[in-house]
């Protein structure tokens, strides 16, 4: 809408009667007069019946909207003006049960085969069971041959994994993203929805609001949804104390299982009014021009680029050894690996925050999978399967790195559990995945998602076997595996691990954080932690697959200014 359109809309809204929905809530009996989709699309709620005529409270009443609302209600209506947030709160109150169901089951109802509400299907159980029986039987009958096959498979997958990552880093390092530097006029900027799921984040809320206010984007074109669980009294109270303006809207998510971030995001997504939607976490500090960059990039890219992943890193990276290694990990991931996936145009598992979407596409693919604990990674794969593309955005969001081992383990095991869920979901029908993502996408998925899981689980085992054989004498190693296989295995293990260390050291190069580079030499210790998290994740996947382990924020003594 241009400036003249906005002005005429405001004039038009002023000419309508205003209603206070907080003091005079809508009549619950009118909830079914219009369907939920129309209410949300046109921003209205059936309010009262006065003298036999239906009165509608509408966020932006106009003559054009009057016709649409009348058609949706199938009877003559009178429009009244009300604040947008109040209208959406009223719609939410009227349709809470339906919204809750949709937030949880929208994907499961529409695409049951792509939803992680079942961890493993019957067919997968049968295939894995048969493979396990064959492997066990063969191990009893031909132990040495089986050991050689196992070693060969592990070495081959290990080698393929490291080579693929090196390829990604090489391609990602060559990606010279040149975003359109055209600064769009404020009037040309669209409404932008920001979803911020919050759970027990009272401590970081003031800093979050400060970071969102610091965004270089017209405040009246921001539709900020602070998504809060209904039973999180502490955060709700903290929010009430902040006295926020109309661009902030608190969406209260009623209690229901699974209690996951994607479910909360799905719930709030129904109220998103922006052309584009971005997810931020409570502790995020996005660079102020990130939304402008995203709009310019979306405008420059073809329509099928429906998601932009901004880069993430940490403002408290220099807090301790763990945060330094975490920063190296993130630098490699977001500055090289994801741009590499982008360059190769293969499925990209999105990072947990700062994902910018075309809102219409997000609605069309039924939002996030509420049962997947890395819903963002899963969403990236689903986008690719639908012919959509995710690209990287050259703008950084600074987060708070978990600075204690316990907290880090919880977070990392949730991520790996989510990767396991994602791999299992998309491998329910491997041929369909091949058809949708193409051969390159299929192998990239196996190496990037499957390879991450496998290397986390196998790395300590391989080193233990290597050291045991080494202690027993290398002749035995060659004797058991055969000379050629022993060479291949050793090459994969030693060269592969050295390359992984090297890539970790290379990670901070793009940002010029070379003071972190020497810490890359200690990456093997960090991998031990990752392996511990992987085994914990496997156990959690069996015990409670949808459980969301909350990461504590606001515990760092570092401030964003130090980033």
């Amino acid at each position: 809408m241009g400036p003249s359109g906005a002005a005429s809309s405001a004039r038009s809204a002023r000419s309508f009667r205003r209603v206070d929905l907080a003091r005079h809530p809508p009549d619950p009996a009118l909830a079914h007069v219009a369907d939920l989709k129309s209410c949300l699309a046109d921003g209205f709620v059936p309010w009262r019946r006065e003298y036999g005529r239906l009165v509608i409270a509408c966020a932006q009443p106009s003559l054009a909207r009057h016709a649409k609302i009348r058609a949706a209600c199938r009877e003559p209506v009178t429009l009244a003006a009300a604040p947008a947030n109040a209208v959406f709160d009223a719609v939410e109150a009227q349709h809470r049960a339906r919204l809750t169901h949709d937030a949880i089951y929208s994907l499961a109802d529409a695409e049951p085969e792509l939803c992680a509400n079942r961890t493993i299907t019957r067919a997968q159980s049968v295939v894995f069971g048969i493979l396990a029986i064959i492997a066990l039987g063969a191990t009893v009958v031909w132990p040495q041959i089986m050991l050689q096959i196992l070693a060969g498979c592990l070495a081959a997958s290990y080698l393929a994994n490291i080579l693929f990552r090196t390829a990604l880093v090489w391609c990602g390092a060559g990606e010279t993203e040149t975003p359109p530097h055209l600064r769009l006029a404020d009037t040309d900027l669209p409404l932008y929805t920001i979803l911020v799921p919050l759970y027990r984040e009272a401590a970081v809320l003031p800093r979050l609001v400060q970071a969102l206010r610091a965004l270089d984007y017209p405040q009246d074109k921001l539709d900020i949804k602070l998504v809060i669980e209904a039973d999180d009294a502490e955060t709700r109270a903290a929010l009430a104390r902040l006295n926020l303006d109309a661009s902030f809207h608190a969406v209260i998510v009623p209690p229901s299982n699974p209690r996951t971030k994607p479910k909360a995001c799905n719930y709030a997504l129904r109220f998103a009014r922006g052309e584009f939607t971005v997810i931020f976490d409570a502790e995020d500090r996005p660079e102020p021009d990130q939304l402008r960059k995203a709009v310019a990039r979306f405008r420059a890219e073809p329509e099928n680029v429906s998601c932009l992943q901004a880069r993430l890193n940490f403002y408290n990276r220099n807090e301790n050894w763990l945060t330094r290694l975490f920063a190296l990990d993130y630098a490699l991931w977001f500055d090289f690996l994801l741009p590499g996936l982008d360059a190769l145009a293969v499925p990209m598992p999105l990072g947990g925050t700062s994902n910018h979407f075309r809102t219409s596409v997000l609605h069309a693919i039924h939002g996030w999978d509420s049962f997947n604990v890395t819903e963002d990674a899963d969403l990236g794969i689903r986008l690719a399967r639908l012919g959509q593309r995710a690209a990287t955005l050259d703008s950084t969001t600074y987060e708070e790195a978990t600075n204690s081992t316990h907290n880090w383990l919880k977070q990392r095991s949730r991520w790996i559990k989510g990767y396991m869920q994602t791999w299992l979901v998309h491998m329910r029908h491997p041929l369909a995945l091949w058809r949708h993502a193409g051969a390159r996408g299929f192998f990239a998925f196996q190496l990037f998602i499957g390879g991450s899981i496998l290397s986390s689980l196998a790395n300590p085992l391989m080193w233990a076997v290597f050291l045991a054989f080494h202690a027993a004498g290398i002749t035995l190693f060659s004797g058991v595996l055969g000379d050629v296989l022993a060479r291949i295995s050793l090459f994969s293990l030693i060269v592969g691990n050295c390359l992984f260390i090297y890539l970790a050291m290379l990670g901070p190069f793009r940002r010029g954080w070379l003071e972190l580079t020497p810490y890359g030499l200690t990456a093997p210790l960090y991998w031990l932690l990752i392996s511990a998290a992987a085994y914990r994740a496997a156990w959690e996947l069996i015990r409670r697959p949808f459980h969301w382990e909350k990461t504590s924020h606001g515990v760092s003594r570092f401030e964003v200014a130090e980033a």
Partner: protein, 301 residues
């Protein structure tokens, strides 16, 4: 234009690490079985392709690039190394790769060039006995050339560049001592063959004091050309050290490496029409001189 900027190469770039990885694995497993002549032909063709591509990509016409490449191979060192008469083609390949990637890194200073330089430095370890020494001498210059940055940043860059050649040296020494398998192309003359692992490590760390050289660097104006000259000096120093430790000099290899470095130097020269003709004349002269130099020791003896 560098190799990585070629359109066809850019399209296939995702497959490059796989190609290199498979080639490395192939060499690790099958190298002992491959005949020496086959490896020499492979190395010669690779070096010729690199010469031509670097010159052509650097702005030389196809005629000049082809002529300089041919004349370089007509020089004594490369000629006898290629035909198997004496010496080794590998030192030339190692020197050229290091000089080109180092110059490229100094010009662009991005992550891809870091990887390429690291790979070249470690590749040199396995290619020729002097490769490791070359790496040690050249590293400080590469670290020092970026003009800005604090000392701790330079330490990070140094660690980043040193890591790959160091690990290669350790892996080569480890496989030789513990697996009885020598993965380098010159098992008998490699300095690491006679050295225990600990000594090799000490040698790597001992290179750190040479960082003082970096204090000179900010005053230099043409880093790419300088790197090639420096590579030649480093090569001479490495050869001197080798002679001092009792190994007889290998003039053919040394002359071959010199030819390769001179091509690297020409690549960093602005190739105007006049300069291209001058370059051709210089390489022609160098070819004649190289044969004189090659025969000089025999004449003296």
């Amino acid at each position: 234009m560098t190799l990585v900027e070629f359109p066809s190469f850019r399209r296939a770039q995702g497959a490059l690490p796989f190609f290199i990885g498979m080639l490395s694995l192939f060499l690790v497993v099958l190298y002992p079985l491959l005949p020496d002549a086959l490896l020499r032909i492979f190395a010669s063709l690779l070096l010729a392709a690199l010469f031509f591509q670097s010159l052509f990509g650097g702005g030389y016409s196809a005629f000049h690039a082809g002529a300089i490449t041919s004349l370089s191979f007509a020089q004594a060192g490369l000629f006898v190394s290629t035909t198997g008469g004496a010496g080794s083609i590998w030192l030339a390949l190692a020197s050229f790769c290091i000089a080109m990637t180092a110059a490229d890194f100094v010009r662009h200073h991005d992550a891809r060039r870091v990887m390429a330089l690291g790979a070249a430095l470690s590749f040199a370890q396995g290619l020729d006995p002097l490769g490791g020494l070359l790496a040690l001498f050249l590293l400080p210059l590469c670290v020092g050339l970026p003009r800005s940055g604090e000392t701790r940043d330079k330490a990070g860059l140094f660690a980043l560049l040193l890591f790959m050649p160091m690990v290669t040296a350790i892996v080569l020494a480890y496989t030789r001592q513990n697996l009885g398998a020598d993965l380098s192309l010159h098992p008998n003359t490699s300095p690491s063959a006679a050295m225990p692992l600990t000594l090799l490590l000490c040698l790597c760390f001992a290179s750190a004091p040479t960082l003082w050289l970096t204090t000179l660097v900010p005053r230099l104006k043409h880093p790419a050309g300088l790197i090639t000259v420096y590579t030649a000096l480093a090569l001479l120093l490495a050869v001197t050290l080798k002679v001092l430790t009792g190994t007889p000099p290998d003039f053919a290899s040394l002359l071959g490496a010199g030819a390769a470095i001179s091509v690297a130097a020409l690549c960093s020269w602005k190739p105007s029409a006049r300069n291209q003709s001058l370059a051709l004349a210089a390489v022609t002269l160098a070819t004649l001189v190289s044969w004189l130099l090659f025969n000089l020791p025999f004449a003296v003896i």
